[in-house]
Amino acid sequence: MNLPNHSAGIDSRSNKVSMTGRRVESFIEVQELEKLYRLGEVEVQALRGVSLRIEKGEFVAIMGPSGSGKSTFMNILGFLDQPTRGQYLLEGINGENLSRDELAEIRNQKIGFVFQGFNLLARTSALGNVELPLIYARVSGVKRREMARRALIEVGLEERGHHHPSQLSGGEQQRVAIARALVNQPSILLADEPTGNLDSRTSIEVMEIFQHLNRDLGITIIMITHEQDIASFAKRNIHFRDGRVVEDRNSALQG
């Protein structure tokens, strides 16, 4: 796999931005991010200049009303979309001039997605679902199976590998989705309303898994949620409104 040269990207950019001349290397670096949608004749400015940094191993919750731009932000973080202006660097990688295929490769290697609606393949077993990113990473069958098994163990579902999503509860399905997101050892886990379709008890179970992944395995997690009690599981809360960051708090709770 050929990823673009990290150092070249980061050196030029960081040196330009930093006023004190100090070389800054953040895990995630977002500068003046803007996103403009054109829907027919209507123009929607989803992001109006977002700048922030996220360090490796952080657990961040992104909150805000609908239309605030948080989903757009997540899409850009996940290399599913490109900004119209501004920059996004993940571990120094700039997605700006990359092709669709190159972006797909970055997603495969660096990003793990968890969705509100789980988004599992209905006609595939839990193991098959978890293996999916590995198929596109061209991992051989035997190794794939092993890695998928281990990911399922990590989320406590080692017994349910051969079940299909229809045979699993909501919470179990989300855990399969988390295992899938983890299986290729990504740099960041992006979760969009991960507890939106779950009851409160299951939500807490999922959040405890997130905490375990973050605390014990050092995985950087960025999640969108509109529920305050879910957000409080994260150490840092960022609030969006009208395409901008209006608040960026580190909470002392949940160490």
Binding site: D81, A104, E105, N108, Q109, R123, Y136, A137, R180
Partner: protein, 409 residues
């Protein structure tokens, strides 16, 4: 190899989700391939039948007949005076080196009577060489000798149809039959040949020596007159040459001036049958092409269903792209699905086509011939139909925007 097999398995599983839909989609391909296989088999069968008939008529064959065809139809002079003679035949044999056999003949309709049975047939008076020229074999007895021709002996050789109709199970050799009140001894029976290329029963015939035919059977005609001269060339290479040489020779002998038409016609039967064979081939090709159209229709069916399938699985495609599927991966996934559809349809079509053709041939007695090449070609064709018509939907799938796709209900 493993990725190919797993892709195959994934494709099969996707197709099994809606077995009915997959089966109906395949139907177009199945019918198309079956039709092509049947048409080609019938075409090849007919062609080989024609080739057999050409061979049975005699090879490198030229027929010289009096009169010309220039003014639409046979044109005899006033009084039906034939212009070909035995001397002409002898001259052809002597002076043209490319000639292997020459046999003049005269013919007419006669009644052959045995006991209380009679049969109306065509009697040919000719030389024994004619049997070689026209590829006749003796099944029983013998042909007549040059001596018998010399002495105008009243001997005859019967075709199989006459034997069946006049003699039933009795051995005809040595028996006496009456032709135009004259008694003829049967000295031989011909091997059956069946129908000619133009539909005539070739076995409905009796051969007698040329001289006997002239003197006894068709005596009112001018002696020396000949109805036709059959010529066999030494080989296909000299056939055209011999044809031209015969024309020149006869024009010379008949003292035809340069601006006058021939008073004879040389028919190149091999050429005629060759034309018929060519026509047969063109017809077969046409039939196969028309059958191929149904394959195209089958392909359109595949494209239609794959488009529906892609739309239905928009979300699934979005997930795959999100976790790292490249455009190529999605393209291949759907392309393999349509390929599997068309190839399985192709195999079934070949099977059904072959069985159907055999059944048809059994009931209609039409000749059929299966060619491995044609079957292979049909299989490859169905594969390419799958790839060609599956490409557009697969490409559409690969170009989906994952964000929109994931939002799709």
């Amino acid at each position: 190899m493993t990725t190919f097999l797993s892709s195959l398995r994934i494709a099969l599983r996707a197709l099994m989700v809606n077995k009915m839909r997959s089966a109906l989609t395949m139907l177009g391909i199945i019918i198309g391939v079956a039709a092509v296989i049947a048409m080609v088999a019938l075409g090849l069968g007919a062609q080989s039948r024609i080739s057999e008939q050409i061979a049975s008529m005699g090879s490198n064959l030229l027929m010289v007949v009096p009169g010309s065809f220039t003014s639409g139809g046979m044109r005899f002079g006033a009084g039906t005076r034939s212009t070909l003679t035995v001397e002409d035949a002898k001259a052809i044999a002597a002076e043209i080196p490319g000639v292997k056999y020459v046999a003049p003949s005269t013919s007419g309709s006669v009644q052959v009577v045995f006991g209380n049975q009679n049969w109306s047939t065509d009697a040919q008076g000719t030389m024994p060489e004619l049997l070689d020229i026209r590829n006749w074999s003796i099944a029983l007895g013998r042909a007549f000798t040059a001596q018998e021709v010399e002495s105008s002996a009243k001997v005859c050789i019967l075709g199989n149809t006459l034997v069946e109709n006049l003699f039933g199970g009795i051995d005809p050799i040595g028996q006496i039959v009456r032709i135009k009140r004259f008694p003829f001894t049967v000295i031989g029976v011909l091997e059956p040949k069946g129908q000619s290329g133009m539909g005539r029963d070739q076995d409905d015939i009796v051969f007698v020596p040329f001289t006997t035919a002239q003197k006894r059977l068709f005596g009112r005609d001018i002696p020396g007159m000949v109805r036709q001269i059959s010529v066999q060339a030494r080989g296909p290479e000299v056939l055209k040459e011999v044809e031209e040489q015969i024309k020149d020779l006869l024009r010379q002998r008949h003292r035809i001036l340069p601006n006058q038409e021939d008073d004879f016609t040389v028919r190149n039967l091999t050429e005629i049958m060759g034309t018929i064979e060519q026509t047969g081939k063109v017809m077969s090709l046409l039939l196969a092409s028309i059958a191929s159209i149904s394959l195209i229709v089958g392909g359109i069916g595949i494209m239609n269903i794959m488009l529906v399938s892609v739309t239905e699985r928009t979300r699934e495609i979005g997930i795959r792209i999100a976790v790292g599927a490249k455009g190529r991966d999605i393209l291949l996934q759907f392309l393999i699905e349509s390929l599997v559809l068309s190839l399985i349809g192709g195999l079934l079509g070949i099977g059904i086509g072959m069985v159907g053709t055999l059944i048809l041939s059994h009931f209609t007695q039409w000749p059929t011939l299966f060619s491995v090449n044609a079957i292979l070609l049909a299989f490859l064709f169905s594969g390419s139909v799958g790839v060609f018509f599956g490409f557009y939907p697969a490409r559409k799938a690969s170009l989906l925007n994952p964000i929109d796709a994931l939002r799709y209900e």
